[in-house]
């Protein structure tokens, strides 16, 4: 697995339907062998990216390069990619093995060879016993695996998955996530996975590309996206977050203060050069995760403020408190998440408490 060479590159790719633009000047590199997830709300253009790469639709502008070769005009049936469609798109008049072998038989590969590779592929997706069934006789999860086997049997350079788990129930979706990830590791093929479900994205992806309104907002590992979001959209969209608006103060090494309604908050800016160069007084948000927020103790100097606990919600392993802070303890709504304890929460609803978060656990995003 050569994770660092680029398999596919999108350069200044734009797409419009009629006069309606859906993608604006997208640049994206997909590395060989990685599991890349394109994440975004509906209407963000994520499925369009996949359809352009797969050749299901023509580009309006820009180019797509595979191993450095421009493939923008290559017809769909010549591209070495295969798609797992959202509704599976299994051929209803063919058996499971007919479906899985289709990509080989249209290439006039010998029957014996097809039979061998179909058996292999069905073994891989654990559907060996279902070879002679028709799609209508399978459950949703089984159809899903047939679609996957059908896509990977042609040994494509890239497998495109268009929200393939959307139609499955929660438990099955979890299983399929693990299953997809393990298959991807086993066959060492690059996966491009489109979803609107961030939990799905975190669970499977090597890297995530967050899209909104036809733009790529951020591309990075799940860890980077979670702890170093580069804009308000990612900070709000990706995981639960507390955002407090304010004005930036002068840089202090790897940290920078921000003047907010909660007072002066100090946050880390390491590895985020754009926050170092932003001018003093620029509008920004202090952002900290609910699990970073905690009751202050005597040692806390920075990032100390008070708040009133408005609500407590027990969520199994953790308990989430909704806290009103800022002017009159009413202006700013915050969330605090702490591990649940069998003898009840140490927090009481209606109580006013002193709160804090460590500077290295806070980050800044420009408004």
């Amino acid at each position: 697995m050569s994770q660092n060479t680029d398999l596919l590159t999108l350069r200044s790719v734009s797409k419009s339907y009629g006069t309606v633009p859906v993608l604006h000047d997208i640049d994206l590199s997909i590395r060989d062998g990685e599991f890349l997830t394109v994440l975004g709300p509906s209407g963000s253009g994520k499925t369009t990216v996949l359809r352009l790469i797969g050749g299901l639709e023509p580009l309006t502008a820009g180019e797509i390069r595979l191993d450095g070769q421009d493939i923008s005009r290559m017809p769909i049936n010549k591209r070495p990619f295969n798609t797992v469609f959202q509704d599976y798109a299994l051929f209803p008049h063919m058996t499971v093995s007919g479906n899985v072998g289709y990509g080989l038989s249209v290439r006039h590969i010998k029957r014996k060879e097809i039979a061998r590779r179909v058996a292999e592929a069905l073994e891989l997706v654990q559907l060996g016993r279902f070879a002679e069934r028709f799609p209508a006789q399978l459950s949703g999860g089984q159809r899903q695996r047939v679609a996957l086997a059908r896509a990977l049997i042609c040994q494509p350079r890239l497998i495109l998955l268009d929200e393939p788990l959307a139609a499955l129930d929660l438990e099955l979706r979890r299983q399929m996530q693990e299953f997809l990830k393990s298959i991807q590791r086993e066959i060492k093929t690059t996966f491009l996975f489109v979803t609107h479900d961030q939990e799905e994205a975190i669970g499977m992806a090597d890297r995530i590309c967050v899209m909104q309104a036809g733009h790529i907002r951020q591309l990075g590992t799940p860890h980077e996206l979670y702890y170093k979001p580069n804009c308000e959209f990612v900070a709000r969209f990706f995981g639960e977050n507390n955002l407090v608006a304010g004005k930036l103060g002068p840089v202090q090494g790897e940290q920078r203060p921000i003047e907010t309604a909660l007072g002066r908050l100090v946050c880390s800016i390491s590895d985020q050069p754009h926050l170092k160069t932003a001018p003093d007084g620029a509008s920004a948000f202090a952002a900290f995760r609910p699990e970073a927020l905690r009751l202050a103790d005597a040692n806390d100097g920075d990032n100390r403020f008070s708040g009133t606990i408005a609500d407590l919600a027990f969520a199994g392993s953790s308990t989430v408190a909704t806290i009103m802070a800022g002017a009159d303890n009413a202006a700013q709504r915050l969330r605090l998440r702490m591990p649940s304890r069998i003898d009840g929460s140490i927090l009481k609803s209606g109580e006013t408490v002193s709160l804090s978060f460590a500077p290295h656990e806070g980050h800044l995003v420009l408004a």
Partner: protein, 290 residues
């Protein structure tokens, strides 16, 4: 309580009445007349009056008289040919329709179906004048130099019936084929492309097999309509274009032999039912959802 109970009872009686009516209508208006037909086929005629005594004579005559079986067989062959011609012409038309976008698709479909609104007899007259000795077809063929002189090949014979029935019944073939083609999800075709199939491979291996149910129902539809028709053969068939429908018609009309006509109808009904069953058998698609 009792008031509520009686409303319930009234409602129940009403729904029972509706159920009875729902079953009674087809029984009274379809099954009973058919049964009367069947019964009549076992009667006979003596000097213009029907003899109500059961006999197998009509069926014996149908199978032994050298006139009826050959005409019966030729008519079946004719109508199968009509069905085949209709399918061959209707399939490309229906396929072309599904390649059109939005409004154009349905506008053109309506245009193809407009002839169904016209009087059957007028259409036959129109086609007869096209096929006739001085008709458009002959004039065109002579003008193009394909024929030296007008041919009598196209009118008042079996060819004329074949051509006329095919033309008249094409709309009945286009509709079911169009519907079955339209029902094929586009993503199946995209999936086929995606897996490396060429346009022709996608058509032969996905589109065609998935549209076969529509083809089967179109074929049985056209066949059934063609075999029951006596007006077209009567008007364009001349003397040589003798079909089973015409024989049937003459038994009820000129010959005034209703029991024998009923027996011939029963034979025809068996063929029609068989055609519908075959169409239904092949019309059922194997997989339902995708």
């Amino acid at each position: 309580m009792s008031g509520a109970g009686s409303t319930h009872a009234a409602e129940r009686r009403l729904s029972q009445l509706i159920t009875v009516l729902a079953f009674a209508m087809p029984v009274v208006f379809v099954l009973v007349p058919l049964a009367i037909f069947l019964v009549y086929s076992f009667f006979s005629v003596d000097q213009g009056t029907i003899v109500h005594a059961p006999t197998l004579g009509n069926y014996v005559r149908f199978f032994t008289d050298p006139i009826f079986l050959p005409v019966f067989w030729n008519t079946i062959v004719l109508c199968v040919s009509v069905a085949v011609i209709c399918i061959l012409l209707a399939y490309p038309a229906a396929y072309f329709l599904t390649t059109l976008k939005g409004r154009w698709r349905y506008a053109l479909l309506m245009l193809l179906l407009v002839p169904l609104l016209m009087s059957y007899v007028i259409k036959i007259y129109a086609i007869r004048s096209i096929l006739g000795l001085n008709g458009f077809l002959n004039k065109a063929l002579v003008a193009l130099g394909i024929l030296d002189q007008p041919s009598t090949l196209f009118v008042f014979n079996m060819n004329a019936i074949l051509l006329t029935l095919s033309l008249l019944l094409i709309p009945f073939a286009i509709l079911p084929i169009f519907l079955s083609l339209e029902r094929i999800p586009q993503t199946l075709l995209r999936a086929s492309d995606d897996l490396g199939a060429s346009g022709l491979q996608t058509f032969l291996r996905i589109t065609l097999p998935l549209s076969l149910p529509g083809v089967a129902s179109a074929a049985s539809f056209v066949f059934v309509l063609a075999i029951g028709d006596f007006l077209t053969p009567q008007m364009v068939g001349g003397i040589s274009g003798f079909t089973f429908g015409r024989i049937l018609y003459s038994q009820f009309g000129t010959a005034y032999n209703w029991p024998f006509g009923a027996a011939l109808s029963v034979a025809l009904a068996i063929v029609v039912i068989a055609a519908i069953l075959i169409g239904e058998r092949f019309g059922r698609s194997r997989g339902t959802s995708v």
